[in-house]
């Protein structure tokens, strides 16, 4: 009896997941399969694809052929975009962690009643459209913007800084956008942390930094790993922020892919780039799984 009841429960569970599963297959796997096919086709003259097998897109990812003499050289511009994407995403992760850890610590150490309010405040930015918020940052950073007005007004700098349309602007924007995604998992980890362990560390002759390094950080590691993945993955594919704050000059992979499907009229190249982005994310996730697996083994 018990077994059949269990079987029924399992079957019902499976039935209930059917809508989500259908959506996932159609909306996620479908386009992915199309992209995977397009990456091995020939580009159509005015966008679209011609159904001829071709590896040209993959070649174009890394190399370019001179139109005049036909010599092949490394596509420096592409590599710059890849490098910028990875570098800015790593820096964003690092910055959100640097700002997020004290923030999460602050919230987790508030009295229980106040915590809900602070967490609520953290989520407020999500109420507004990302594009609007990004334009707001643009307003802050531009040459005649608030930041420069304050800095020159206080005579901290003689000339307004050109921050907008640089990597720095993109970095500031992404750090702002993704900060909550770092704070929330960090908060969850610190919330579970037994603060008496800090006293135990002090008691056993560990100074403040050593307690942070040897006791606190290892114990809240699952939160750090989760936060880093939540920030790093969307940073890598970021589109709006580099587009607005980088001014189209400082492209990231997301913008570059969009360019191939738009003005670039090279759908296979865009598809190949999308797959490469997926590959980088996949590598990041393998690190994540490894980190959590060793956590389980430790635990």
């Amino acid at each position: 009896m018990a077994r059949t009841a269990e079987q029924k429960k399992a079957r019902d569970g499976w039935l209930l997941s059917l809508p989500a599963l259908t959506l996932l297959i159609l909306a996620a796997s479908g386009p992915l399969i199309i992209i995977a096919i397009y990456a091995f086709l020939t580009a159509g003259e005015y966008s679209g694809v011609i159904w001829d097998l071709s590896f040209k897109a993959w070649f174009q990812v890394l190399f370019e052929k001179d139109i005049f003499d036909g010599t092949v050289s490394l596509a420096d511009a592409h590599l710059t975009i890849f490098w910028r994407s990875v570098r800015l995403s790593l820096l964003t992760t690092l910055l959100t962690f640097t700002f997020g850890l004290p923030t999460a610590w602050f919230i987790a150490t508030r009295p229980l009643k106040q915590r809900a309010l602070w967490l609520f405040l953290i989520t407020i930015p999500f109420w507004t459209n990302l594009l609007v918020r990004t334009f707001a940052i643009m307003e802050v950073l531009r040459v005649e913007g608030i930041l420069n007005k304050i800095l020159t007004g206080l005579h901290i700098i003689p000339e307004p800084l050109q921050i907008l349309y640089t990597d720095t602007a993109v970095l500031i924007g992404m750090t702002y956008v993704y900060l909550p995604l770092m704070v929330l998992p960090l908060f969850a980890a610190i919330d579970r942390f037994d603060f008496r362990l800090i006293e135990a560390g002090y008691d056993l002759y560990a100074g403040r930094l050593t307690v942070l390094r040897r006791v606190i950080l290892p114990i809240i590691r699952p939160g750090i790993v989760a936060g880093s993945i939540l920030v790093f993955v969307p940073s890598l594919g970021a589109y709006v922020t580099p587009r607005v704050l980088g001014g189209g000059k400082k492209m990231m992979i997301g913008n570059f892919i969009e360019l191939q499907f738009g003005a670039g009229r090279n759908w296979p190249l865009g598809s190949a780039l999308a797959l490469i982005l997926l590959l980088i994310v996949g590598i990041a996730l393998i690190f994540y799984v490894r980190a959590s697996a060793s956590e389980n083994k430790d635990g």
């Binding site: 006293e199 008691d203 002759y205």
Partner: protein, 355 residues
């Protein structure tokens, strides 16, 4: 202060700011703890015993007063600069480290050589009989085992003083008894000064060299277990440690006059003026029950405890008294409620206390 003094607490005061005004957790406490002594801070919750322990550990700093260790003022030093280790109430073992790593943590922080860390850690594992569990994580251990690891972790850096904050309170009765012996053994073997905090009077009496009884942020009495039990300074101490009968009386010459009108001998009469109203403290096991020659009393109730039988008695004026008698082999003490008896007290058993 002598060479024998390990921890010297001088007029230590600790005041906390609370929403409802300030709370005095510790009110000018002075106490000297000798080297190699098993010293217990005993009192009900909120009496300031844990606060005093935390001041010695360095987790809190005193609002006023100072704390000396081997003659040096350590009040301003952070906990990681004090040669004092703590066994926490909840053990506070590092969950991400193995038993062995937990025990070697302090030694590593002190910058001891690899060989020494390994040697000392093995010694400690041996001492608390946890060698077989060395590579387990704390959460894979039972409460008693975690307790032993916490002890080993705190003992491994060879502190001058070991502080124990109600370390046995989370254990069940049988394990607690075992650990009491274990603690006493470790203290004798290592010769380290132990400062033990508990609210369990039996634990305090059986384990300690000396006990300090605390209440409302003050130390009421310091003494060895026998002194505390047989010569309590006031009604609170007498009541908190073991069971006690309290009778109202007045000083009458060299004796005391009970409310029944009888006069009996008591110790401590000289400290009070003639005619002063006082309280008498008499331990139940010091009450003698016979046929004649004492105070007239009526049996109100008998309660059988196995080894003992408690006899609830009513004196002539209605005041109540409990006598603890050893149960006879039959278990029947032969006194039914309503029986008339005569009550007397063992010589020196009646203590005169302030009212």
């Amino acid at each position: 202060m002598t060479d024998k003094t390990s921890v010297d607490v001088r007029s230590a005061r600790k005041v906390y700011d609370a929403t409802s005004g300030t709370v005095v957790a510790l009110d000018s406490v002075s106490v000297q703890i000798h080297k190699g002594e098993f010293f217990t801070l005993l009192g009900p919750s909120g009496c300031g015993k844990t606060t005093l322990l935390r001041l010695i550990a360095g987790f809190e700093s005193p609002t006023a007063g100072e704390i000396l260790l081997n003659g040096t003022d350590i009040s301003g030093k952070p906990p990681f600069e004090r040669p004092v280790n703590t066994v926490f109430q909840s053990y506070a073992l590092f969950p991400h480290l193995t038993v062995r790593q937990n025990i070697s943590f302090g030694l590593e922080m002190l910058g001891r050589s690899k060989d020494e860390v390994a040697r000392k850690t093995n010694e400690m594992l041996e001492l608390v009989k946890m060698t077989a569990m060395a590579d387990r994580k704390p959460q894979q251990l039972s409460g008693g085992q975690q307790q032993r690891v916490a002890l080993a972790r705190a003992l491994s850096p060879e502190p001058e003083v070991l502080l124990l904050d109600e370390p046995l309170s989370a254990l069940d009765l049988k394990l607690r008894k075992e650990m009491q012996h274990e603690l006493k053994r470790l203290q004798l073997e290592t010769g380290i000064t132990f400062i033990f905090v508990t609210h369990d009077q039996e634990e305090a009496l059986t384990m300690s060299d000396r006990v300090a009884v605390m209440r409302d942020g003050r130390i009421l009495q310091v003494g060895n277990p026998r002194e505390i039990y047989t010569r309590p300074v006031d009604r609170f101490v007498a009541d908190f440690i073991g069971e006690t009968n309290f009778l109202s009386a007045t000083i009458d010459g060299k004796k005391v006059r009970l409310t029944t009108g009888d006069t009996i001998a008591a110790s401590g009469v000289e400290a009070h003026t003639e005619g002063a109203a006082v309280t008498l403290a008499i331990r139940p096991e010091q009450v003698r029950v016979g046929d004649k020659g004492g105070l007239a009393a009526t049996v109100a109730e008998t309660v059988y405890f196995g080894t003992d039988t408690h006899l609830h008695l009513t004196l002539g004026d209605g005041s109540e008294l409990v006598a603890r008698l050893q149960s006879p082999p039959s278990g029947e003490i032969g006194l039914a409620p309503g029986a008339k008896v005569s009550v007397s007290f063992t010589e020196g058993a009646v203590q005169v206390l302030e009212q």
